[in-house]
Symmetry: C2
Subunit: 183 residues, 2 copies
DNA sequence: GAATTCATGTAAATGGTTACATGATTAG
DNA sequence: CTAATCATGTAACCATTTACATGAATTC
């Protein structure tokens, strides 16, 4: 039995701790964003196939909480998936498509695209930096434990940060380079 | 009238020069990959809506070539799009999902993921580097001309290369760091 | 002689988003 | 008092891939 990659991502979250669909969606944001309308059906399929169990917590005023927990069967499928090779990443970035055609307009279009991008990257990096600092402070030893979930967080956040910073630097350099040509 | 982003990407390619669907698919690879089964319908819609014209070149032994060319109407829509703000990039990368769960298996899973990733990045960077060097040699002055398509190529390839290299470095550093913890 | 390139497309299926339905609680 | 958060899900639509159909020309 093979599942799609969102399903494995959801299983990975449930393996760490039992969670509601709402919480799964929030946690997915850090490495594999998806809308809740995609996740809720995934969770009910997991239950139907015996890969997760549900515990319902009654609430008043809002829908009952459904807490999903990965079963041993679910875990075994997830671990099996980890032995396979990941597909090459899929990236869809309108910024690149715009850059590709920007020559047809004027230089200001190129510089606007670059400055806007840089702002976006900076804002993003700022948020992540806080998270990263906190991570390093709170769990300095646990990170080194390969069986700790902190290692993954350290790797994932650290990688993201470096790529954000590198792209930011690139934007800046390109802006100064272009400015130097047109003065 | 607003179109989806593949459509704008295709228009951007046709703006540079008239092309067949086959060639459009090849060129899309550098910034917005898509399968031909997605592109052919896009092209026929462009024609129906007067955004592109077609010239049929008869061939024997293979399907007739259909050369698409962007119309002024198409160009105006594309330029209008360039004044808008791009959506945030969409990334789906199984490698990250695997890294997120790798703690549940063992350290060797983490290191295998990192080494495989590094190999992939290196291979990719190698190909791009050749392209980049050629670009810098062949059109050293044209790149500085903002109305030249070479500027876009320079930006796009340069950016990609830097990000590939940065991620490669990160993989390497993480591998040595992890190795130092477990010796 | 085998693999890749050239060249078009359609049909079916999967993946993913938007819109809809519903509304109390909590934080600023 | 306003915005965000909590909490579930379904239906319709759009985006993208896979599989199918076809086969000569070229490169290795």
């Amino acid at each position: 039995m093979a599942f799609n990659t969102v399903t494995y991502s959801v299983m990975g979250i449930l393996l760490r701790a039992p969670r509601t669909g709402y919480d799964v969606v929030k946690e997915l944001k850090s490495f594999r964003p998806a809308k809740s309308s995609q996740i809720y059906p995934v969770l009910s399929k997991l239950e139907k196939q015996g890969l997760a169990t549900v515990q319902v917590m009654h609430q008043s005023g809002r829908p009952d909480k459904k807490i999903y927990q990965l079963t041993d069967l679910g875990k075994s499928h997830l671990l099996e998936w980890l032995d396979t090779h990941p597909e090459p990443p899929v990236v869809r970035d309108d910024f690149l498509s715009m850059l590709f055609s920007a020559w047809a307009k004027d230089v200001s279009t190129v510089t606007r695209l670059l400055t806007d991008r840089r702002r976006m990257l900076d804002k993003h990096a700022e948020d992540l930096n806080a998270k990263y600092a906190q991570l390093l402070q709170t769990f300095p030893t646990k990170i080194k434990d390969p069986a700790s979930t902190q290692l993954s967080a350290y790797l994932l956040v650290g990688r993201r940060l470096r790529l954000l910073e590198e792209e930011g630097k690139w934007c800046e350099e390109m802006l100064t380079q272009i400015a130097s040509w047109h003065n």
